[in-house]
């Protein structure tokens, strides 16, 4: 068994903050009732109060009203609800066409594919080699039958930020709804629904040092959307099931704990890592956009070597990172993101993602760089490539 000392996969999931658990505890042991209808017993009304307070806090940081935010089990469900819920509401009435980017995370990508199987048409709008959506192509792609555009706020692998405001305005101008998966940018990159005319936003707690198993969907007032999961009448009759109040309260606490100062600290670590990797290891390329990128994300490809081997060597040295190599993925497919921005398989296989969070320390950055340098050199020694 190896001891992992430096965790650099905060995009996958983050360590929960102790203060989050403290906030959750009363809802495990004291206010454990379901949020009853307002005509229920006190315990249920207090539970509802806690839920509403959590909801108001999270909606607040998005500039939204409390009743515009529903809790879900996480961003996967949020994106399913956004896409399929709008399809249920508008598929018959307006049209059966949606637009996504080809580098969306699986929930959006595969929800769109599910709609395709039901006869919807899906346009995958062009992205450039940094992953940014081609706005002209987006504009052209939207027709009278387009019911939804779903483009992520930030990419899960390469960290590229989209111009969400420009996309939202194009959608508004064209009269189509706009959903953005902000799982990775939430609170690290500002997004205010009073300034950006976005209709639906997917967010999650587990990427911001909150609990797993809870996320949410912002739904602008008046957005045509139908319930997708069937059951009881919870969450404004949009998402059924006994409310996960400890989760909601933990989510709100996690939201409260993110500060711009922390994000700046994280970005400084990321900047130093990226600068050293790109300068000190030859045949290393940056994946994603050099400027419009998540502050916590670094993603590079080391030529001539394969990511799983690199990951395993780093793991033996106590560093946890992620790779777009097929051998690492659950589907044994190479990263559709790197391929989607025009990268080849070699670039995907040799890509490594480093994502920072609250618990990373400045002094670890140099240690990571040294370990990566060593391992890349060793794997290149073994490799048949890059030697002529």
């Amino acid at each position: 068994m190896f001891e992992t000392t430096v965790y650099l996969d905060n995009a996958a999931s983050t360590r929960m903050d102790e203060r989050v658990l403290e906030a959750m505890k009363p809802y495990f042991f004291d206010l454990y009732a379901v949020a009853t209808s307002q005509f229920g017993y006190s315990l249920g009304i207090e539970a509802r109060d806690a839920l509403d307070t959590a909801r108001a806090q999270i909606a607040g940081v998005l500039g939204a009203n409390p009743e515009e935010f529903v809790f879900t089990s996480g961003s996967t469900e949020s994106s399913n609800l956004a896409i399929k819920g709008v399809a249920l509401a508008l598929g018959e009435k307006k049209g059966r066409h949606i637009v996504i980017s080809p580098i969306e995370d699986f929930p959006v990508l595969h929800s769109a594919r599910a709609l395709e199987r039901q006869g919807f048409r899906v346009t995958r709008v062009r992205v450039d080699e940094t992953g940014r959506v081609d706005l002209d192509h987006l504009r052209e792609s939207i027709t009278d039958e387009t019911i939804l555009v779903s483009v992520q706020a930030a990419n899960q692998e390469i960290g590229t930020l989209q111009d969400v405001k420009a996309i939202a305005e194009i959608c508004k101008e064209k009269g189509t709804l706009f959903h953005t998966d902000a799982t990775h940018s939430f609170l690290r990159v500002p997004l205010d629904v009073r300034e950006v005319p976005v209709d639906l936003i997917t967010v999650s707690a587990h990427t911001i040092h909150g609990p797993k198993g809870i996320g949410g969907l912002y739904v602008r007032k008046g957005t045509p959307i139908r319930k997708w999961m069937d059951g009881g009448y919870q969450e404004f009759d949009l998402r059924p099931g006994v409310e996960n109040i400890p989760g909601a309260v933990g989510f709100a606490k996690a939201v409260e704990l993110i500060t711009p100062e922390e994000t700046a600290r994280i970005q400084a670590m990321r900047d130093r890592l990226l600068e050293r990797l790109l300068n000190e290891i030859p045949h290393t390329v940056l994946n994603g956009h050099p400027v419009h990128r998540l502050p916590q994300n670094a993603n590079v490809s080391f030529r001539f070597i394969e990511g799983e081997s690199l990951l395993l060597h780093l793991d033996m040295r106590g560093f946890a990172v992620s790779t777009g190599s097929a051998c690492f993925s659950r589907s044994l497919e190479a990263s559709h993101v790197i391929l989607g921005i025009g990268g080849n398989h070699e670039r995907a296989h040799g890509s490594v993602r480093f994502t920072f969070g609250r618990y990373n320390k400045e002094e670890d950055v140099d240690a990571v760089v040294e370990a990566v340098k060593e391992v890349v050199a060793e794997l290149r020694r073994i490799s048949p490539l890059g030697k002529e």
């Binding site: 068994m1 594919r113 001539f304 070597i305 394969e306 799983e308 081997s309 395993l312 033996m316 190599s325 097929a326 051998c327 659950r330 589907s331 044994l332 497919e333 190479a334 080849n344 398989h345 070699e346 995907a348 296989h349 020694r381 073994i382 490799s383 048949p384 490539l385």
Partner: protein, 211 residues
């Protein structure tokens, strides 16, 4: 903790034996490509009299199971005649390594293929090649037994994934009883193409799905 790799695999991954090139090699085999994410090169020195492999080295661009298999297969081949070495299988490598994850056969079998390619290269150079067999349905099925269905850890023939095989005018058509959007559909398809496309009389490999 259920590590996917045995201690022996990890040891060979950390300290792979026989790494590198033989500049004056008698034969060389390369399998895979950067595009498929795994690539192995095998270099041989062979005693022209006894056909014993006197030196062997390999290079690997690939994952841990690929590197470890390259390491063990070169260890196993060293000192054997090319006839003996030809008979080395993935199973031999796996046993010597204390087991390999079935889901990674795709990557690890490449090292065995690399060894075979190097031996074939030697045979060709030294006039030892027998008549080239044409690709038949039977031969395709035999080859498909080297493609593993990661869901069950059995090959795709024995796990009844192969619904139909057709060979006609250099085109091989394989129909799989699997939805096209299955988790491992792309990986299995790629593996099938890799196994059949290099055949001398195959121009195209078409893999179809039932759904």
């Amino acid at each position: 903790m259920p590590l996917p790799y045995s201690a022996i695999v990890m040891e060979h991954f950390r300290n792979p034996r026989n790494v590198g090139r033989i500049e004056d090699a008698d034969a060389k085999g390369v399998e895979g490509s950067p595009a498929c994410g795994d690539m192995v090169a095998v270099y041989l020195k062979v005693d022209p009299e006894t056909h014993v492999i006197t030196d062997i080295k390999f290079e690997s661009y690939g994952c841990a199971s690929n590197i470890a298999t390259g390491s063990i297969i070169t260890e196993l081949a060293k000192g054997k005649t090319i006839e003996e070495a030809k008979k080395l299988t993935w199973k031999d490598a796996s046993e010597a390594l204390g087991g390999l994850p079935p889901i990674k056969v795709h990557c690890s079998v490449l090292a065995i293929d690399g060894l075979r390619a190097a031996i074939e290269n030697y045979e060709e150079k030294h006039g030892l090649v027998k008549e080239r067999k044409p690709t038949t349905v039977e031969l395709v099925k035999k080859r498909l037994k080297r493609v593993v269905n990661p869901v069950v850890g059995l090959d795709i023939v024995r796990s009844n994934l192969v619904k139909d095989v057709e060979v006609k005018d250099g085109v091989v058509r394989v129909v799989l009883d699997l939805p096209e959007d299955h988790q491992f559909a792309a990986a299995i398809k790629e593996d099938i193409v890799d196994k059949l496309e290099p055949r001398w009389d195959v121009n195209e490999v078409i893999v179809e799905f039932t759904e």
